[in-house]
C-alpha cells in the first residue's frame, strides 16, 4: 500500500443520557433540555484512528448520518483532530433500522472512497448508547466486504504497506489475538484509550472547516426504497411503557430511626423469603468457622 493510511470513523449524535439529572428534592429525573453528544463509544474509535494517523500519517475522515444538527458533532470531531467531516442527511433516511442504516452508510463510504480515497480502516464504536444494537458496524463490513473486527481493545501491530494487522478482541471469557489484513472494519471497545484534547490550532481550523453534506442522491443512492422506513425489514408495531406488576410492591413504612427501618426491612425480607434467611445464616456460620 503506497497510499497514505485513510481511516473513516462512523459516529452518531445521541442524547446525552449522563446529563439527565435527578432533582435534589423530589428525586425525579429531568429529561428536558438534555444536550446531544457524540456517542461516547465512538470517541474510542475516533481516538484510535487519530493515534494511527500520529504513527503512520494519512488522513482521518469522520462520517455521520443524522439530521442537519448533527453537524455540531462532526465539528466537534474536527476539534479533536479529524481531517475532514461528512454529514449524510436526507429525509428519506428517517426511520431507518440497522439494515437500512448500514446500507446508507456503506453508500456514503463508497462515495468517500471515490472522492477522498478508499478507506483502509473503518472505525465505529462498539454500539450506540441510544440504540444499543451493535449491528451497524457488522452490517457495513459485510456490505463492503471488509474484514470484520468487533470489540477490539487494542491494535497491537499494523504494517500499513503490507496491510497486515494484529489486534486484541474481547471474547467470552478472554481475549482473542487475531491477525488479519486491511481493509478492515473495527468496532472499538470502551476504555481502550482516552480522547485527546485538540490543540488550539486544530480547534481554530475546525471552527472554520466546511463540513461536507451529502444527501441520498449525492452518494449515488438511486433506489430510495432501500432507505429509511421503506428499506427497513423490521417494523416497530408498538412502543409502550410496561405495566406495573399486577401485585404492587408491599411498602414497608419508614420507622422513626434508620435502625428501626432497617430491622423492619430485614423482617420483611425474611418474612417473604425464609430460604434467604436460612442461606444467609448458613454462609455466616461457615464464615465463622
Amino acid at each position: 500500500m503506497n497510499q497514505p493510511l485513510h481511516s473513516v470513523v462512523c459516529i452518531k449524535q445521541v442524547p446525552d443520557s449522563a446529563q439527565i439529572r435527578v432533582h435534589p428534592v423530589t428525586n425525579t429525573i429531568m429529561r428536558q433540555g438534555v444536550p446531544t453528544i457524540i456517542n461516547p463509544y465512538d470517541l474510542f474509535a475516533l481516538e484510535e484512528a487519530l493515534r494511527l494517523r500520529d504513527r503512520f500519517g494519512g488522513k482521518v475522515t469522520v462520517l455521520c448520518m443524522g439530521p442537519m444538527t448533527a453537524e455540531d458533532s462532526l465539528r466537534k470531531a474536527l476539534t479533536f483532530g479529524a481531517d475532514r467531516a461528512v454529514l449524510l442527511s436526507d429525509r428519506y433516511f428517517a426511520g431507518s433500522d440497522t439494515l437500512a442504516t448500514s446500507y446508507a452508510l456503506s453508500m456514503a463510504l463508497l462515495q468517500i472512497a471515490r472522492e477522498f480515497g478508499a478507506p483502509d480502516i473503518i472505525f465505529t464504536g462498539k454500539q450506540t448508547i441510544d440504540g444499543d444494537t451493535a449491528q451497524v458496524g457488522p452490517g457495513i463490513a459485510k456490505r463492503l466486504g471488509y474484514n470484520q473486527l468487533t470489540y477490539i481493545s487494542k491494535i497491537r501491530d499494523l504494517d500499513p504497506d503490507g496491510g497486515a494487522l494484529v489486534v486484541e478482541r474481547r471474547a467470552e471469557g478472554g481475549t482473542q489475538v487475531l491477525q488479519t489484513k486491511l481493509p478492515v472494519l473495527i468496532t472499538m471497545l470502551e476504555g481502550s484509550n482516552e480522547m485527546r484534547r485538540g490543540s488550539i490550532e486544530t480547534a481554530l481550523a475546525a471552527a472554520r472547516a466546511q463540513v461536507t453534506i451529502w444527501n441520498a442522491a449525492a452518494v449515488g443512492i438511486e433506489d430510495l426504497t432501500r432507505c429509511g422506513l421503506r428499506g427497513s425489514p423490521t417494523i416497530v408495531k408498538k412502543v409502550f411503557a410496561p405495566g406495573a406488576r399486577s401485585e404492587k410492591a408491599a411498602m414497608i413504612g419508614a420507622e422513626a430511626t434508620p435502625e428501626a427501618s432497617a430491622h423492619a426491612v430485614i423482617d420483611a425480607i425474611f418474612g417473604r423469603m425464609p430460604a434467604i434467611e436460612a442461606q444467609l445464616f448458613e454462609t455466616a456460620a461457615q464464615a465463622a468457622y
Partner: protein
C-alpha cells in the same frame, strides 16, 4: 444505529402486513445458533432453546440447534446437550477451520445452512460472539434482526413479536420482520430462565462439512488469553445482589453498597448513569446494556427503575427497592419497597444484618 420507532403513516410500512413473498413461504422451523466457547456450550444457548421450544410449539414446527466446531467429540457432546434442552434436530458443522470463532467462517457456515434448510426464526445469544455473528448474517441475508430482546412471542398471525427496550431504555417496543425470512433476534444471557434438562432425550443430527480452505480465510486466531477468575464479577449468577443508583448522590457513597454486599456475601453493581459518571466500572452495570441478573434477592438502593434497568433485574425472585420518591417506577416492579434515603438506610441495614448474623452465629 438506533431502531427508530415511527408512527404508521401514509407511505410507511409500520403496522401494515404484506403478503409474505412466495420464495419465503418454504421457511419453517425455529433455530438457535449455539455458542461454544472452548468446547463448552454457553448457557445462553440453553436459555434460547427453552424459549425456542415455546415458539416452535406455538407454530407447530421443529426446534433445531446449529453447532459448529472442529472436534467431533465436542460437537457430539454439545448436540446431546441440545437434545436434552429440547432441540428436535441439530445441524452439526464440523471443520478444522471452525476451531475458534471467526466471523468470516461462522457467517459463511450459518448463512449456507439458513439458505439450504430455511428456518423461519433464528435466535442467537446477545454476547460479543452472537452480536458479531448476527449482524453480519442478517446483512448477508438482507433480513430483519432485533437485538437484545426481553420477550419473544408469536402473534395471532404467526409472526415473531420481539420486544426490546427503546429510546435509551425508557420505553419498550415490539418489532416484527413481516416480509423477510428468517426473523432474527438476539437475547442477552440470563434474560430468559434456564429451562429444565430432560435427561436421555434425543433427536436427529444433520451433518454439514463446509470443507473450508484455510488458505482462503484472511483472519487467523493467533492466541487466546483467558481472563483470570479474580477479575470477573459474577453478577449474572449471584444469589444476592446489592446495587446503587444516582440516589446515592456521590461516588463516595457507593461504598455503602459495597459494605452491605460484603456483609451479605453478595455481588454488587449499579445502574447505567453510575457507569457514565465513572462511579463504577462497566462490568458492574446492571440493566439492558450491562448485566442481566436473576438473583434470589435483589436490593436496589437509590435506583429509580428506568425500563433499561428493569429488564435486567426482573428475573429476580425478590426485589427490595429503597427510594426517596414514592412515585419512582421501581416500586411498580419491586416486591418490597421502602420510601427512605438510601444514604442513611444502607449503613443501618448493613449494621442490622451484621448484628443478626452475629447473634445467630453466637447462638449456634
Amino acid at each position: 444505529m438506533a431502531q427508530q420507532p415511527q408512527a404508521g403513516g401514509g407511505n410507511s410500512r409500520a403496522g401494515t402486513k404484506k403478503e409474505l413473498p412466495e420464495h419465503f413461504k418454504a421457511y419453517k422451523h425455529v433455530w438457535v445458533a449455539v455458542e461454544m466457547e472452548h468446547g463448552a456450550v454457553h448457557s445462553v444457548s440453553f436459555e434460547l432453546l427453552g424459549e425456542g421450544r415455546k415458539l416452535a410449539d406455538k407454530r407447530g414446527v421443529e426446534l433445531a440447534a446449529v453447532v459448529m466446531g472442529e472436534s467431533r467429540a465436542e460437537l457430539d457432546a454439545a448436540a446431546a446437550q441440545c437434545f436434552e434442552y429440547s432441540a428436535d434436530l441439530v445441524y452439526l458443522a464440523q471443520d478444522p477451520a471452525l476451531a475458534h470463532y471467526r466471523n468470516e467462517t461462522a457467517c459463511q457456515v450459518l448463512t449456507h445452512l439458513v439458505n439450504t434448510y430455511k428456518p423461519e426464526i433464528l435466535l442467537l445469544g446477545a454476547t460479543n460472539l452472537g452480536r458479531d455473528l448476527a449482524g453480519s448474517v442478517a446483512t448477508t441475508l438482507a433480513t430483519g434482526l432485533t437485538a437484545d430482546c426481553t420477550e419473544l412471542e408469536i402473534d395471532e398471525e404467526g409472526s415473531l413479536a420481539a420486544t426490546r427496550p427503546t429510546f435509551g431504555g425508557s420505553l419498550l417496543c415490539t418489532i416484527f420482520t413481516l416480509n423477510f425470512r428468517p426473523q432474527m433476534a438476539t437475547v442477552r444471557p440470563r434474560v430468559m430462565p434456564m429451562p429444565a434438562r430432560q435427561e436421555g432425550r434425543s433427536g436427529r443430527i444433520i451433518e454439514y462439512s463446509p470443507a473450508i480452505n484455510e488458505a482462503d480465510i484472511i483472519t487467523k486466531v493467533l492466541d487466546f488469553i483467558a481472563d483470570r477468575d479474580s477479575d470477573k464479577a459474577s453478577l449474572p449468577y449471584a444469589d444476592i445482589v446489592v446495587a446503587g443508583g444516582l440516589g446515592l448522590r456521590s461516588a463516595e457513597n457507593f461504598q455503602l453498597v459495597k459494605n452491605l454486599a460484603e456483609v451479605l456475601g453478595a455481588e454488587y453493581g449499579g445502574s447505567r448513569p453510575l457507569v457514565q459518571k465513572g462511579w463504577i466500572t462497566a462490568d458492574r452495570q446492571i440493566g439492558q446494556t450491562g448485566k442481566t441478573i436473576r438473583p434470589k434477592l435483589y436490593i436496589a438502593a437509590g435506583i429509580s427503575g428506568a425500563i433499561q434497568h428493569r429488564v435486567g433485574v426482573e428475573g429476580a425472585d425478590l426485589i427490595l427497592a429503597i427510594n426517596t420518591d414514592p412515585k419512582a417506577p421501581i416500586f411498580e416492579f419491586a416486591h418490597l419497597g421502602i420510601v427512605a434515603d438510601a444514604v442513611t438506610l444502607l449503613p443501618a441495614l448493613t449494621e442490622a444484618f451484621a448484628n443478626r448474623l452475629r447473634i445467630n452465629r453466637l447462638a449456634s
